[in-house]
């Protein structure tokens, strides 16, 4: 029964992928969209059924299909583990996935390759389910690589634009660097534990087996490098903003709500390993905090509506890693869930705006859309309030918990995280004001075109906005359903921070910080009516931010250029030397054989003569000499 359910869960999106990729061309557009949506919808229903089961029994379900690899006593099974953690992920991956598929039917209806779009999206969901539901690291790796592939395919979906292709390649290569770390981590863990199965390793550790902590720290560090690639953390985050080249539903699904949280999933999944290596956890916390701060800085001055959201995603992911690094896994998971709701809503909202603007993404040419797009505006407002951390929306609770943990563990990190939060409020309201308030700044043609999106697009927005508003209920301070629910995936009991006066004080500070950010944005963009300067007129520190701290340029200078240089060196010097040696040997053989081949003149008499001569020589030396 369970194995059938898991098979349906996995194969439903895969069959959707197959039918769209092979027969999609002959299907009508609406039909291929419907197939894609239903395929993911079925997975969602199955996830809900399994979730109910686990919720009632309190025990994870393991489904073993077959032994995949067997090398002496090292075994890897092709099996899946559906426990509290993976089901939580499955719920929002398939749930939000279904909504975004629904949205895409309308958003992409003019695209000639619609069937391809849906097949890639389905394939993505399939790999994401594999990643999340696998019961060992190797299965997770299949999913890990698969979602990377789908991300590449979808970023470069409009393949006729070379910039988009470059962005896709950048994402793929950046991910590969991380994947190398991830793979190395898997190898070391396999070497240390003789198993890659989560439960086996957990039991081995719980029963107090001896582990070489040095190697383990190296392994967890490697795994974290993998996470920085997939979840866009320093120093590998630069691909995510460029990934906005893909269609907006892709940005919402892959590059905000689901795939980029894979790193957080992995660290939470292996919490019992990371827990043993506090040094690596410190690294994670510091990298997370720095990423949150730097990305928030860059987001302050971006003018592309999707770029702002992309940097905001990087920043929020940084906060999640901060929570992971401080050992508060359930808090990170909480923020992943709420972030998935409001960020998906924001991205879909921006998609709705772009749709209305006829493809324009620059906020300097928007403005005053509030009166034209009521539903989009209201849902966008709710999500913006949620991400800014305004009570009682979901972002308030999750972000507040991260800040609370940071305050207890490390004051410096708390200050950094708070700064990032204040900036979040500022740039999100800057985005809101520039897009929806003031006067319309686009062309007359665009003004006539302005319209609310069709209901197929606004429905997902409404659902996500509601979730973004009430999502905080799953983990209220002091009475957290989520913390209790996730308890079984950890070893031992979890530390609890009591809801005392400090906690209330911090909530107050965080809210005031958010309000300050909102007020600053209000006074700058509404009261004074300022507009972001044109690209060429940006000066001072803003210019550094505008150019994203020149990180891309630095990478080009210190990595890309030397690689090209090395390539040129090998091509022009080393290759010439090697090829001259190789060709020289050939030429030498040619010259020598030119002399020798006159001997082979076809005269049988001569052959016989030489034969007798040779024979006589042999006889002479063997017997007579």
């Amino acid at each position: 029964m369970d194995s059938t359910l898991v098979l349906i869960l996995l194969l439903s999106p895969f069959i959707g992928f197959l039918s769209n990729i092979f027969f999609g061309k002959s299907l009508s557009k609406n039909l291929s969209g419907t197939i894609g949506t239903i395929a993911v919808g079925i997975s969602f229903v199955v996830s809900v059924i399994l979730f109910n089961k686990v919720l009632q029994s309190g025990k994870g379900i393991t489904v073993h299909f077959f032994d995949w690899l067997e090398l002496f006593n090292f075994k890897v099974g092709f099996s899946f583990l559906l426990d509290q953690l993976s089901l939580l992920w499955l719920l929002f991956v398939t749930g939000i996935g279904t909504l975004i598929h629904l949205y895409s039917i309308s958003y992409m209806h003019d695209d000639e390759n619609l069937h391809k779009f849906f097949s890639y999206l389905n394939l993505f969901v399939f790999f994401m389910i594999t990643l999340v539901a696998g019961s060992n690291l190797l299965i997770m790796f299949i999913g890990w690589e698969g979602v990377g592939l789908c991300s590449y395919l979808l970023i470069g979906f409009w393949y006729k634009n070379q910039n988009y292709n470059d962005a896709a390649k950048k994402a793929f290569i950046m991910n590969r660097i991380g994947d190398l770390g991830f793979l190395a981590g898997i190898f070391i863990i396999g070497y240390l534990f003789n198993s890659l199965d989560y439960l086996t390793i957990k039991q081995a550790l719980a029963s107090g087996g001896f582990v070489d902590l040095g190697w383990l720290a190296f392994a967890t560090l490697c795994l974290f490098i993998g996470a920085t690639g997939k979840s866009a953390q320093l120093p590998l985050y630069t691909w995510l903003p460029d990934a906005m080249a893909g269609p907006t539903p892709v940005s919402a699904l892959i590059h905000a709500a689901t795939m980029v949280t894979a790193g957080i999933f992995m660290v939470t999944r292996l919490n019992f390993l990371f827990e043993l290596t506090p040094a690596v956890l410190n690294v994670i916390a510091i990298i997370g905090a720095l990423t949150a701060l730097i990305a928030a800085f860059i987001a302050l001055v971006q003018n592309d509506i999707k770029k702002v959201l992309a940097y905001s995603t990087v920043s929020q992911l940084g906060l999640m890693f901060l929570a992971l690094g401080l050992g508060a896994y359930e808090v990170a998971v909480f923020h992943v869930v709420t972030h998935a709701f409001f960020k998906a809503c924001l991205f879909l909202g921006s998609g709705s705006v772009i749709h209305a603007m006829g493809g324009e993404q620059d906020m300097r040419y928007m403005g005053g859309l509030k009166s034209h797009m009521k539903t989009t505006y209201i849902t966008f407002l709710i999500s913006t309030l949620a991400i800014s951390g305004i009570f009682p929306l979901s972002g308030f609770f999750s972000k507040d918990e991260i800040l609370l943990v940071a305050f207890h563990e490390n004051k410096v990190l708390w200050v950094i995280a708070s700064l990032a939060s204040i900036m979040t409020a500022f740039y999100m309201f800057r985005l809101l004001y520039l897009t929806f308030f003031g006067k319309f700044r686009g062309s007359e043609e665009q003004k006539h075109h302005l319209h609310e999106s069709p209901s197929l697009m606004t429905f997902p927005l409404i659902v996500l906005a509601i979730l973004a508003a009430v999502g905080g209920l799953i983990s209220l301070p002091g009475n957290s359903w989520l913390n209790h629910y996730l308890e079984p995936i950890f070893i031992g009991s979890r530390p609890h921070h009591a809801v005392d006066s400090t906690a209330y004080m911090l909530m107050g500070v965080a809210t005031v910080g958010a309000l300050i950010g909102i007020f600053l944005a209000y006074s700058k963009y509404i009261k004074k009516g300022e507009l972001p300067a044109k690209d060429k007129e940006v000066t001072g520190f803003a210019k550094v931010l505008h150019n994203k701290f020149y990180v891309d340029e630095i990478y080009t200078a210190i990595i890309v250029k030397p690689i090209y240089w090395l390539g040129d060196f090998f091509k022009s010097i080393v290759e010439v030397i090697i090829s001259s040696i190789v060709f020289g040997t050939g030429k030498l053989a040619n010259i020598l054989s030119d002399q020798g081949k006159t001997l082979q003149n076809g005269s049988v008499g001569l052959y016989l003569f030489v034969f007798v001569l040779g024979f006589s020589t042999i006889v002479y030396y063997l017997f007579l000499a």
């Binding site: 003149n601 076809g602 005269s603 049988v604 016989l608 003569f609 007798v612």
Partner: protein, 107 residues
């Protein structure tokens, strides 16, 4: 009894005869241009060796050498059949079996 044969005519005479036959064969191979004669010369060389084998077999009182000669002659017969067949085929194509005309093997 076999020993007696060698007493009548010494072993060295057999060796001289075989050597002489072999040399005749070599010179035939080197000097004659007719493929059939070359072929015959090769046969003479082969049989010179066979003669030696038989003589030494008697000398050592060991029948193995004589048995070996039977095999060698059987193989030689087969070889002659094939060799002549090739020569016939060459003659049909070239209307000549002069080995100086057979220069198609030039590399």
């Amino acid at each position: 009894m076999l020993q007696n044969i060698l007493q009548e005519i010494g072993i060295e005479n057999y060796i001289f005869l075989a050597t002489a036959l072999f040399c005749v064969g070599i010179f035939g191979v080197l000097y004659r241009r007719n493929a059939i004669v070359v072929f015959m010369s090769i046969e003479i060389m082969l049989n010179a060796v066979n003669l030696l084998l038989v003589a030494f077999s008697t000398y050592h009182q060991d029948a193995a050498g004589q048995v070996f000669v039977f095999f060698s002659m059987a193989v030689a017969a087969a070889e002659v059949a094939i060799g002549l067949a090739i020569l016939v085929a060459i003659y049909r194509n070239l209307k000549s079996i002069d080995i100086d005309d057979l220069r198609n093997l030039k590399g």
